[in-house]
Symmetry: C2
Subunit: 143 residues, 2 copies
């Protein structure tokens, strides 16, 4: 069986692949049907995988056909509790042209609680955010 | 033994009490020495309880002597995984005068991973944030 960090990295790879491919179904399959999501942008919470898949559908549809988002991570930590993993990482979302040129990038903090059944993993809670500047109230998107 | 929601509510009460009392030691005692914190404000992460206690010391010291912060919550969810709890809630921080008048309030989303040893609880991961508005990039602090 994979170590907690290996299992978390494998799930992050599937997440990055689904985002790169703009594949709503592959994205939604990473999440438990009753997942609770606290996302960086606009909405206080998404309370199930269906609502969250709707966000992904809008996100991917809003990207120009010539643009893809590459997800990378660092600072990955993962710890096992019973049949769950607690995962933390910094995720960087880099928008690239189909010529491989960087358009823009932002970094988020990611917390996952992942339900683990052998090597089968499903996210049951996700929290992403960026720290807010005290003075301006704006989120800081470069780490 | 308490249910997961009862245990989480009890820990939130201790958190609220420590903030109300501006008690850095009581606040720090809620956290595991190796806690990882993703906080709403200014900093990408705090990597141990000592760094986090430093934040609390500055926060409490910055409050006027006549001002206290009342923490309340709603939407509490808690689930047990092995010897840990996964907790989510919306926390409202209301600054009050010592005459009981409300000065200002803001709401945050809270995720905790809590290590549980019987009724003894310690936070091993905390993530708080507020969603950011897409247009302005500013965090939305009223739910």
């Amino acid at each position: 069986m994979q170590t907690p960090v290996e299992a978390a990295a494998s799930l992050l790879q599937s997440y990055a692949r689904a985002v790169l491919d703009k594949d709503v179904q592959a994205f939604a399959d990473l999440y438990h049907p009753d997942v609770c999501i606290f996302d960086t942008w606009g909405v206080w919470s998404y309370d199930d995988a269906q609502a969250w898949a709707g966000m992904a559908r809008e996100w991917f549809a809003a990207l120009p056909a010539t643009e893809r988002v590459v997800v990378t991570w660092d600072g990955l930590q993962a710890r096992q509790f019973g049949d769950a993993l607690s995962v933390q990482a910094f995720l960087t979302y880099t928008a690239m042209t189909d010529q491989g040129e960087k358009i823009r990038a932002m970094t988020n903090r990611l917390s996952w609680v992942v339900q683990r059944d052998g090597d089968a993993l499903q996210v049951v809670h996700e929290h992403t955010s960026a720290p807010a500047d005290h003075e301006s109230g704006k989120v800081i998107l470069q780490r």
